[in-house]
């Protein structure tokens, strides 16, 4: 099974990369951009059914893949 971990900075956390890209978009004439957040995207191939993989990845995302002080994450699965 293929799982994707999508990690984004928490709302309260300053995201200087996102801000810089937002400003660049505006400078390039792309108007109407109200927010840009830059995070991380991890693809993981893993054996097991959806339930097992989800339980395991949640555990490791909580303690390793994302830092709960500064980041949120969500898991997306593909069969």
């Amino acid at each position: 099974m293929k799982a994707k971990v999508i990690i984004t900075p928490k709302r309260a956390v300053l995201d200087p990369q996102g801000k810089t890209v937002q400003t660049a978009l505006e400078h390039m004439g792309c108007s109407g951009v109200s927010d840009v957040r830059i995070g991380k995207y991890i693809e993981i191939e893993m054996d097991g059914d959806r339930e097992t993989v989800e339980a395991k990845l949640s555990e490791y995302a909580d303690k390793f893949l994302a830092n709960p002080n500064i980041e949120d994450y969500r898991l997306v699965f593909e069969d």
Binding site: A12, V13, L14, P16, K40, F64, L65, N69, I70
Partner: protein, 235 residues
């Protein structure tokens, strides 16, 4: 009195820390490889700066799971003194031994320059010997030194006197301009609630001899040494 300096793949300030503790202060100091399971007979542990594991994923996030960090956690839980410098501070935050996290500098630039630090609390093994009203001039060198914590954590750091160092300007004023990385409350260093684990982004080991352009960093190591001398012997 014996010191251990941790060494991860990618540490690059380890030898500087050993040099200061061994050659400048004259104490037995050994490097402790990340695969060790014990801190041995060390009385204090230094986690040095660098780019452990290439800063992959997040700074310090992989180093914190190395075997030696299990030993450091146990050492700290038993009251042992631990100082993390730069990447060492990042590792301690990732390990949960210090609150908060270090994120990308607000400017997105790697900042390598001397800064001025105000000592926010003298009540710690890391700052006890710094004279009152003395601001320190010490270099920083980091891309991810922007200290972040939520409002509640910041309040508890202030309430418990856990903020050790804050960035100030040459006149000693705590201004936004003096903040090199965007840290909350200009925070450059903190300690835990038990006050035996400290972390700081500036590099005292790079400012411990006059020939290097300043020796204000000595005061931090001297504080640590004095605290160890005064510490009741742990059997």
């Amino acid at each position: 009195m014996k010191f251990a300096v941790l060494q991860f793949p990618g540490s690059n300030c380890d030898q500087d820390c050993v040099h200061v503790l061994h050659s400048v202060f004259g104490y037995p100091t050994r490097l402790l490889w990340h695969k060790e399971y014990s801190v041995g007979d060390a009385d204090a542990v230094i986690i040095p700066g660098g780019f452990s594991y290439g800063d992959y994923l997040r700074t310090g996030s992989i180093a914190r799971f190395s075997p030696v960090m299990g030993a450091v956690k146990e050492f700290a839980d038993n009251g042992g003194l631990v100082l993390g410098i730069c990447n060492g501070f990042q590792i301690l935050c990732e390990a949960g031994l210090l609150p908060g996290a270090l994120i990308r500098n607000r400017s997105l630039q790697f900042r390598c320059e001397h800064v001025y630090l105000q000592v926010a609390s003298h009540n710690s093994p890391f700052t006890g010997q710094i004279p009152e009203d003395k601001n320190l001039r010490i270099p920083i060198a980091h891309g991810e030194g922007n200290y972040f914590c939520d409002d509640e954590t910041l309040q508890s750091l202030e309430d418990n006197d856990q903020v050790l160092f804050q960035y100030v300007d040459a006149e000693g004023d705590l201004t936004d301009h003096a903040n090199p990385n965007g840290s909350r409350a200009n925070i450059a260093g903190i300690c835990n609630e038990k006050r035996n684990v400290g972390g700081m982004m500036p590099h005292p080991e790079r400012a411990s001899e006059a020939i290097l352009g300043g020796d204000d960093g000595r005061l931090i190591f001297q504080s640590l040494i004095t605290a160890l001398k005064n510490q009741p012997t742990v059997a």
